[in-house]
């Protein structure tokens, strides 16, 4: 197993999903001067962004060494679905308006893997729709992870305070939970 230049068909899937989830042109903006490369996994493919100067290193034969990750981990493509990685979230967040700001208590609960309830919602753009990916931010605009809206944003005001608003997809507590 070694890093490969990305397959254009697979990269189209990744680019289309990022752009449709977070806004047109977002993929191009997060890519900047970096080059996407891929690593095949037992299930699916992982994508990484690396400086172009690294390609001469990546072209070599790694022999008895197995590359596990390199550069910035962008995310994984599994069965046609692309999931952004945690390290990529902050980069994408800068270029999107899919944001949900939550209270201090909601933020803490989210980083323990919980989903977002109505009582934790501080601010959300009313145009966001059910099923859309939203970045969860605390009240000082720090990115805590990604969630899927379970209700149209304009309807949130009608919900009871204990009703689900956004389902946790990934949060920064994963770094710690993964090791425990």
């Amino acid at each position: 197993m070694k890093p490969e230049y990305v397959d254009s068909v697979q990269w189209d899937i990744v680019r289309n999903q990022i752009d449709s989830d977070y806004g047109a042109g977002v993929t191009k903006r997060i890519l900047g001067a970096l080059t996407p490369v891929s690593l095949p996994r037992a299930k699916g493919i992982s994508f990484y962004l690396v400086p172009t100067g690294w390609l001469k290193i990546l072209d070599r034969d790694f022999k008895q060494f197995t590359p596990l990750s390199l550069g910035m981990w962008l995310g994984d493509l599994v069965e046609g679905l692309f999931r952004l990685s945690l390290p990529a979230l902050e980069r994408v967040q800068e270029h999107t308006s899919n944001l949900l700001i939550v209270s201090r208590r909601g933020a803490e609960s989210f980083t323990y893997g919980r989903s977002i309830l109505k009582e934790s919602v501080v601010k959300i753009a009313p145009s966001l729709l059910r099923g859309q990916r939203v970045f969860i931010l605390n009240e000082t605009n720090e990115c805590l992870g990604l969630a899927a809206l379970s209700v149209d944003a304009y309807k949130i005001g009608r919900l009871a305070k204990d009703r689900l608003v956004a389902k946790n997809l990934v949060d920064i507590g994963w770094y710690i939970r993964r090791l425990s």
Binding site: L49, W54, I57, R60, F62, K63, Q64, F65, T66, P67, L68, S69, L70, G71, M72, W73, S85, L86, P87, A107, T111, N138, E142, I172, G173, Y175, I176, R178, L179
Partner: protein, 325 residues
């Protein structure tokens, strides 16, 4: 050879502190009884927790201000730019948002000092030969401001998970993580400017953190580690670019894994020399442990000792490979 009387005395001390007798015999031979007892007493005391502030995520001042506001008491380690003794009182250091966001890394002072002793320059090619769980890789990445390349190698499948997790959490984007045996480093055909070898060791410097170490390792285990350390050092020197720099370290206080290993290397590989570490910490390494005369340049290497520095026992040696080799 030690006499029956000394052996019996070592047994008495070993029984009192819960160690295997061979360990006490070595400590007494190395330091004399009085200092050996100081060492044993120090290993009964807790080691203060330390953190490294990660400048890839936030400026030092910001992290200091946020942690102070949460009641964490911080005291700067004099020879480290971003190293602090940290008293979290009743807070778990891993539970804070700042930890999840990679603003700091919980790491022992000696471990931070290892990367500081190497201090790789930006844009260079670096190899971390035993990289998990990633403290030193992430430290070097911040020194290099994510430029250049750090090839981080780890053989243990489970430990690579913690390595990758810490790399991502700390915002490191200049590393390539490889699983494999670093003794085969030459197969990669790299000529790194810097190599960090924090070698797998018997852990004899970590007794204060892991009291089970008092009885868990035999002299044969130490010899086994030393053999592996020899092989790793050979692989490192073979791969290192001419004029390149290697830092060798262990979390062991055993001369058999430190001074003797480096002395052998200097004999085996004449293209190498021990050079000074340009920061002030610890005490000089031993040029004549157990009365055996070794290469005099070993005094340029440094040791952390629990009974002198209230940290884990560590050995750190900076080595250069000749330009013309």
């Amino acid at each position: 050879m030690i006499g029956k009387e000394q052996r019996n005395r070592a047994k008495e001390i070993a029984k009192k502190y819960g160690y295997l007798p061979y360990m006490i015999e070595r400590y007494v031979a190395l330091w004399g009884e009085q200092e050996a007892i100081q060492f044993l007493e120090a290993c009964e005391q807790p080691i203060k927790r330390a953190i490294r502030l990660n400048t890839l995520r936030a400026p030092v001042e910001e992290t200091l201000s946020r942690l102070t506001a949460k009641g964490v008491r911080l005291e700067k380690v004099p020879w480290l730019d971003t190293g602090y003794i940290a008293d979290f009182t009743r807070i778990s250091p891993g539970s804070l948002l700042e930890h999840m966001r990679g603003f700091y890394y919980v790491q022992g002072v000696p471990s931070m000092t290892v990367a500081e002793a190497l201090r790789p320059q930006p844009d260079s090619l670096v190899v971390d030969m035993a990289a998990a769980p990633g403290g030193k890789t992430t430290h070097m990445a911040q020194m290099m401001n994510n430029s250049g390349v750090i090839v981080s190698i780890e053989q243990d499948r489970l430990r690579t998970a913690s390595l990758e997790s810490n790399i991502h959490r700390c915002g490191v984007t200049n590393s390539i993580v490889l699983r494999g045996d670093s003794r085969k480093l030459d197969q990669l055909g790299l000529a790194p400017d810097y190599i960090l070898l924090d070698a797998p060791c018997s852990g004899e410097g970590l007794i204060a953190l892991d009291p089970s170490r008092k009885r868990s390792k035999s002299m044969a285990d130490i010899r086994f580690c030393a053999t592996k350390q020899d092989a790793l050092l050979d692989a490192a020197i073979t791969a290192l670019a001419p004029g390149g720099t290697l830092v060798y370290s262990t979390c062991s206080i055993a001369p058999e894994e430190n001074e003797f290993v480096i002395d052998d290397l200097l004999k085996r590989r004449p293209e190498t020399k021990v050079v000074p570490i340009n920061i002030e910490f610890g005490v000089p390494a031993y040029p004549a442990p157990y009365g055996v005369e070794l290469h005099e340049s070993l005094t340029l290497a440094r040791r952390f000792l629990p009974h002198k520095h209230n940290v884990e026992g560590f050995f750190i040696c900076r080595i250069e490979k000749e330009e013309s080799s």
